[in-house]
Point group: C2
Chain length 552, copies 2
């Protein structure tokens, strides 16, 4: 009998935030933890979503025993439809997470085709060589868990996304008791959340927001509009409670906020005091000081409820003097410009906007440095892998471990394509499956790559020019007149001379080469180069030039 090995592959890539997907393999069995997506950086032009490279899982689908989900955020469940359409395996999730996944599967016509299982903290799921026990953690969505995974080689702990909040607004704290028992059992490997590894100290408790919420509500002369993440249900509940306390009705604006609160209310994760909830179209029946609206758009997303209010495009609410808008969120890096533009627009309409890190309206859902140290010290794993974070966060997390006395060779900052292999001999990095980011654009998955992105970038900077000319090589002359169409390059009514010049250049180029060139493609190339040179000389711009020659 061969010695067992356990292999851990971060299939969503390492050192990238979002698209979390961890693959555990023992003998011939694969266990998948999470399948998240990432929203693209601005330089991924036209890309809608970035998902993990599922090739390896699809090629080995008969070996997959289950998918276990830690919580219902998009960066942990968003890519599930893209995986499940090819790989129908049982899925395990806590009730709220399951509820959110069901909505997603319904929209992708996958509901009913997948075996969905509800799990709860303390359950022991026997999944072949893996015995998985979820434990409760605090995070910015309720019903989140970490995972204790018993393998033939020993106990692996996956922290999930967590913080240690001693006074959360949901009922339960991160289960330190379970963590202590796991520690006593002996942990060979800890995979731990690195999102907030750059923040010194402790992440503040969700309860700390209560005071600032009350103070803003108490001083608001008119309506209060609270914008936050639709999945941040403890924040949603806090806003509802505070609204009720100050005698305000609550309406909800924005599709994802409506959907999430409906699921959470049905499953008992949030509740409205009697007579608090009203439909959006009824808000004008009450005086402004009796209204609170929960809205999407804390990131300034152009089609969100708040952004439409800010630009006067929201049907039920026009922002007016006396409105108070609370941004109960942080800026996700890359969104700053649109967030601030939104705030400016709200001020322009006379609203008061309470925003920014110093306003005390938001706390993170992720463990800061002292909490990460506590997790490491409590579990004292043999080996440790910082996960869930951009590369610098993993490095900073690793440095925290070194400070606690972990040896450099026992902490693995993994790169894309790395796989950590555990055996009785120890832990080593080996080559894992090759992975690359997979881009979803429109209804197509994976066709957009570097070539298309490079073309789009060039087009975005200087537009394009299409030139068309018909040539009669027998007669050695141009037939009719050459023509030019351009878009995104120059403002044509003001650049008449340039277009004239370009048409003349086409004449000149064609006529001077008709004797020595009888190949269409070659002629097109020479025209293209000539025009590129002319445009750059006259404008210092470099439009994409397409030259079309018709040999008649």
């Amino acid at each position: 009998m061969t010695e067992p090995t356990v292999r851990v592959t971060p299939l969503g890539g390492v050192g990238e935030i979002g698209k979390n997907c961890t693959v555990l393999e023992c003998d011939d069995t694969i266990l998948v933890i999470d399948a998240g997506l990432e929203f693209p950086d601005a330089d991924l032009l036209g890309v809608d979503l970035v998902i993990p490279d599922f090739t390896y899982l699809i090629e080995n689908k008969e070996r997959i025993r289950a998918i276990v989900i830690t919580h219902g955020h998009e960066d942990h469940v968003g890519a599930l439809p893209f995986l499940l359409r090819d790989v129908q395996v049982p899925l395990y999730a806590t009730p709220l997470t399951r509820g959110l996944i069901e909505g997603k599967l319904r929209r992708h016509h996958l509901l009913g085709k997948i075996e969905l299982n509800t799990m709860a903290p303390g359950d022991e799921l026997d999944l072949g060589p893996f015995q998985v026990t979820p434990f409760h953690v605090n995070h910015s969505i309720p019903d989140a868990v970490g995972l204790a995974i018993r393998t033939p080689l020993g106990l692996i702990v996956h922290s999930g996304d967590f913080k240690i909040d001693h006074t959360p607004l949901e009922s339960k704290t991160t289960d330190l008791g379970v963590l202590a028992r796991l520690s006593a059992e002996g942990v060979i490997l800890l995979l731990s959340d690195s999102t907030n590894a750059e923040s010194p100290g402790y992440t503040a408790s969700e309860s700390q927001l209560l005071g600032t919420f009350q103070s803003v509500f108490a001083n608001a002369p008119g309506r209060v509009i609270v914008a936050t993440f639709a999945s941040l249900l403890s924040r949603v509940q806090l806003a509802i409670k505070t609204a009720a306390q100050f005698g305000r009705r609550v309406a909800i604006a924005g599709r994802s906020m409506e959907e999430n609160t409906a699921i959470a209310e049905k499953l008992g994760f949030i509740s409205f005091p009697p007579e608090t909830r009203i439909p959006l179209h009824r808000i004008n029946e009450f005086p402004p000081e009796e209204i609170c609206v929960l809205a999407t758009g804390s990131q300034g997303e152009p089609n969100s409820a708040l952004a439409r209010m800010a630009s006067g495009r929201f049907r039920h609410i026009s922002i007016q003097e006396g409105d108070t808008i609370m941004l109960s969120s942080k800026a996700i890096p890359g969104n700053e410009t649109q967030i601030y533009r939104n705030i400016d627009n709200l001020f322009r309409r006379g609203a008061n906007v309470v925003y920014g890190t110093k306003a005390g309206l938001h706390v993170s859902g992720h463990a800061a440095q002292e909490e990460l140290k506590m997790m490491l010290n409590l579990l004292r794993p043999l080996y440790s892998v910082p996960v869930q974070g951009e590369y610098r966060m993993l490095q900073v997390h690793a440095r925290l471990a070194y400070e606690l006395g972990f040896e450099h060779e026992d902490v693995f900052v993994m790169g894309n394509g790395d796989c950590l292999e555990l055996s009785t001999a120890g832990a080593t990095l080996i080559d894992g499956p090759e992975i690359e980011d997979v881009f979803v654009d429109g209804s197509l998955v994976g066709d957009v790559g570097n070539t298309i992105l490079r073309d789009r970038a060039a087009l975005s900077r200087d537009g394009f020019v299409v030139e068309r000319v018909s040539v009669d090589p027998e007669m050695g002359e141009i037939v009719g007149e050459p023509s030019i169409i351009s878009q995104g390059f120059v403002y044509v009514p003001e650049s008449g001379d340039l277009i004239e010049e370009a048409l003349e250049a086409i004449h000149r180029i064609v006529e001077s080469h008709l004797d020595d060139i009888d190949d269409v493609e070659q002629m097109e190339n020479i025209i293209k180069q000539g025009l590129e040179k002319l445009f750059h000389k006259e404008t210092r711009r470099r439009p994409v030039v397409i030259a079309m020659v018709t040999w008649v």
Copy 2:
């Protein structure tokens, strides 16, 4: 004799950061304060610079008496070449500011064509109805001033960009004595910097950085690379001093850093201890622990020295284990993605990177709320206009004034196109010249507008498709074969079917309409619409479609 009036117009727009340009008018005389530029937001695709709309100044150039500059930052001097090429009027600046402007004018072949005058704090410049006295202020560039402007209606104070630093690293503090005397004289109008109006408390002193700099230098095992703004000369001097203290030579990487330090050294604003300065190509002659490099690239600008080091494209320096990189700067909103990508890349090469607001490596150059209150309370102007800031910052600044007891009607948050008119009767907002943002793209100024930007945005998302077909209307048939060229749309080798489908669609459309359509443009429109529909159905993308029909 008519009563005098003074009109104040923020020509660079109000509530936009950058491109500062304030126009004062009294009787027939115009005084211009600053002429700055703004770097475009990411959604201004392909735009290189945004400058103020100088139309009004160009149309009234014979009335302009002078341009007075407060300090040498790009958002105050960057648009000067675009103004001075049309308007040759005398310019006044302090020595360092003048030195920086000279470099700029030289590059634009304007040096020698403009009357440049050096001014110093305390000077009394008689500029027609305006008597201008600069006073020293602390800012993140030396030799910055605010302006006391005496007019027939009374004293106007322009704060310039300022903070109140009691222990600056340059020799002089913001001149509170002069401000007190101005206050005693009586101030009718204060125009005051709003950049940092969102920050509670006081901005920390530049001296506070000394300790953190020393600590990072003391613990760095190899080279230290300090990235900061090239104009932040007090920071540059701090790095040089600390390097010398720890026995390190200093080399400079990056064109703007080289130019600015050369001008500042020549004018006595920075100095290198003996034998400290070495050229970049000699750094490998010394052991790493004896080297410090000052580099551009704190904003992750792709062609900056630091970004090229991070991606392995910098000739003289390859980042190695043991290198310590200090980011002594803040992230300008919108630059976060590229800054963090840069940091990730530096970590990937084994460097240690010290960065982030909590690292203690940067302080702002702008007054925070308590300093703004001090300015307001010290001067107690009759009227007050928050300037230099995005719209929300102006609003927050105005609210600070209300807290101090200023009446709402005496504080003016101006919008684009507003002009503040002062007369013996008081202050009122009137319509000023119409202004709009002017975009510089390549060598052309002002041709890029909404149409081009909209086209570029469409192209950046889904690329374009050009279709070409020749038709013989007499014979009622297509001549040859239609063809399709696309860029940025789909990856053609993987989308053969789609292109085939499109070619078939062209056949179908042309053939079914040859009887009823004999107009080229109409046929092109029908093909365009057919292809747009097909592409959206098959891909959910919306490429720009150009249909070209040749009637043969």
